[in-house]
Amino acid sequence: MKGVTVWFTGLPCSGKTTLALRLSAELKKRGIQAEDLDGDITRKYLSKGLGFSKEDRDENIRRVGFVCSLLTRHGAVTTAAFVSPYRSIRAEIREMIGNFIEVYVKCSLDKCIERDVKGMYKKAMAGEIKNFTGISDPFEEPENPEVIVETDKESEDESLRKILQKMEELGTLPAAGKDIFIPDYLRHDLIKNLASQNFPDLPTFVIHILSRYVSQNSGSSEISKAEEDAVREKLKKLGYIS
């Protein structure tokens, strides 16, 4: 599989790391081991001593970008969750890495402040933290990101689906088989029937359960359940069905 870096950019507390880890977990389910990088790790091991001036921030991202480029070149899937507020450095690492998917994690400032359990925004607003993105330092929105997720408007699942879909579209991720969610009533049906009866053909029964669900939930027939009931009534009135 070809390596790729999925780069999450956005305001502090916008949900970058959460989504990066969700993506990583989903990839693992599909048998793909991803490498996760975020500010906490790299500031500790890769960029210790760098501050939050524009120059230092750019240098931090440049170093992370270099690591990502190595991982990507060797076929790894890497998730990178960094505020990375400046367009110029993002453009630079995009160039460096090559196979690069930029995910703009969009979220309103109010929502980010609400989510900030560490109270960093509060400190920044009080002037206790300098150069804090969103308060005292700008965040330059991506102009052409591959994916935009809006974490104040959509669920994590929706955001994750968008990212996975884009990765599949770009060919960086093999398309997954369609997941079929089996609702509780069907699982109960399955368990109850399996416990109480002697089925000559278990695989066909499982197919039956799945197809029942699919037929109830697919839009292929263009006829709703309510319409089916109405058709049944009409046919009964004419004696066409029992």
Partner: protein, 436 residues
């Protein structure tokens, strides 16, 4: 100011008018020694009217699908009003989007021919066609029954009814008759508009009320003492008048060929016959709970079950999750079932004309969904699945039933009619009439 000329008068080339009369038998049209209920149609077509075989089973969904595609269910995939979802015991109701073969109006569209199709059964939900489509039975929602959608407001404004409430046919017969007249009248009005407005090559007008009336009042047909005899005959005469109006218009348009047909005939009911109770009695079908009325409760020991009206399915292993019949046992069970039904009698009379194995009726890509046996009854024995019944035969409020061998076909060019004529032959004949 000169009156605007209808597009139909401007368009060159052969045109075709099709009049569909659901459930009208050849006898009803020809009269057979009695005055015809369709004197105008009879006179117009004169000797160019023949008996036609409908599909088997002889129900509108299958027969009209066979008419519009020119092929049998093994190709078009519509085997009945109801089927089971593959691999399950869950009922589903096939619709127009399940039709697997091309219709004549789709194919004619490829030749730049424009069709107006009004009230043709088995065309719901309406999809785009090269022309105009107003779906017929079992259409439900006008919003999904009309293409193009621009006609929906007009139909709504006119009070167009897709179908009448057949429930009234049982015990509110006067209301039922009034509804039939009203639905027919408005349908004709919308047809008049489309006739003038659309630049058509093929115009099809189908009357389904003829079927509804016969189900509930067939006994009024030949019985002058029946309280609804006059109303029954009067309704058919009204349909004949409408047909006559179309014929007259067609004649004034110039190069218009005309076809009239039904999808099946009709006959009086002697007895309803319930197939699932028969299968139960002879050990082919059992339920997990004796009182169960749904196929979902079929037992794993069951060897066969019936779906309306006359289709028998072997409870095969691998096809149904509780099925246990192996391929090695199939032929024996089919033969045994054929024998059982061929010999089945009601009041000392055998009730079936023939028991078909699937390969004797069907071929094509949809064979996997075909019933394993299909029964064709003798006139008067109305076959039904009847899973909920606790007896093998009975009577109900219905007085008329479909009949397979006495549909009719009539054509303005009688020399083109093949004999014996089947509903599968009609599509090819339409192309001949259009010189395609």
């Amino acid at each position: 100011m000169a009156r605007e000329v209808s597009p139909i008068f401007k368009k060159k080339g052969k045109k075709l008018l099709i009049i569909g009369l659901d459930g009208v038998s050849h006898e009803m049209l020809a009269g057979n020694g009695q005055p015809s209920l369709f004197p105008n149609l009879k006179k117009f077509f004169a000797a160019s009217t023949v008996k036609m075989s409908a599909s088997i089973p002889e129900i509108s969904a299958v027969s009209w699908s066979s008419f519009m595609t020119g092929t049998q269910s093994g190709n078009h995939g519509i085997f009945g009003f109801v089927d089971l979802t593959a691999g399950t015991y869950q009922y589903r109701f096939p619709n127009f989007s399940d039709l697997k073969a091309p219709t004549f109006f789709d194919e004619l569209g490829l030749k730049n021919k424009h069709s107006v199709i009004i009230n043709l059964p088995a065309t719901y939900p309406a999809r785009p066609i090269p022309g105009v489509l107003i779906s017929g039975f079992v259409a439900l929602d006008l919003e999904k029954a009309v293409f193009p959608a621009s006609y929906i407001p007009i139909l709504k404004q006119m009070g167009y009814q897709i179908d009448v409430d057949a429930g009234k046919g049982k015990d509110k017969k006067n209301e039922f008759l009034a509804d039939l007249h009203c639905a027919l009248k408005i349908r004709k009005q919308i047809a008049d508009i489309l006739w003038e407005k659309e630049n058509w090559d093929v115009f099809m007008f189908t009357v389904t009320e003829t079927d509804r009336l016969q189900h509930f009042l067939y006994d009024a047909c030949g019985d002058s003492r029946h309280p609804f005899h006059r109303e029954f005959n009067g309704f058919f005469n009204e349909v004949d008048q409408i047909a006559a109006d179309f014929l007259q218009r067609a004649a004034s348009c110039g190069d218009v060929e005309v076809v009239a047909l039904s999808d099946h005939g009709f006959c009086p009911i002697k007895s309803e016959v319930y197939l699932n109770p028969i299968l139960k009695k002879h050990g082919y079908l059992s339920m997990e709970k004796a009182e169960a009325k749904s196929l979902a409760n079929i037992s794993a020991q069951s060897k066969a079950f019936a779906l309306d009206p006359s289709r028998i399915y072997i409870h095969q292993k691998g096809k149904y999750f509780k099925g246990g019949v192996t391929p090695a046992d199939m032929q024996k069970i089919r033969e045994d079932l054929r024998q059982l039904f061929e010999n089945y009698e009601v009041g000392g009379e055998k009730i079936l004309s023939r028991v078909y194995f699937k390969e004797e009726l069907y071929s094509g890509a949809q064979m996997a969904a075909a019933p394993d046996l299909v029964l064709l009854s003798k006139p008067g024995y109305d076959l039904k699945g009847g899973l909920e019944k606790d007896r093998e035969t009975g009577i109900s409020h219905f007085s008329g039933m479909h009949r397979q061998d006495n549909a009719f076909f009539a054509c303005s060019r009688g020399e083109l009619i093949s004999k014996p004529m089947t509903i599968f032959d009609v599509k090819g004949l339409l192309y001949k009439l259009l010189a395609i």
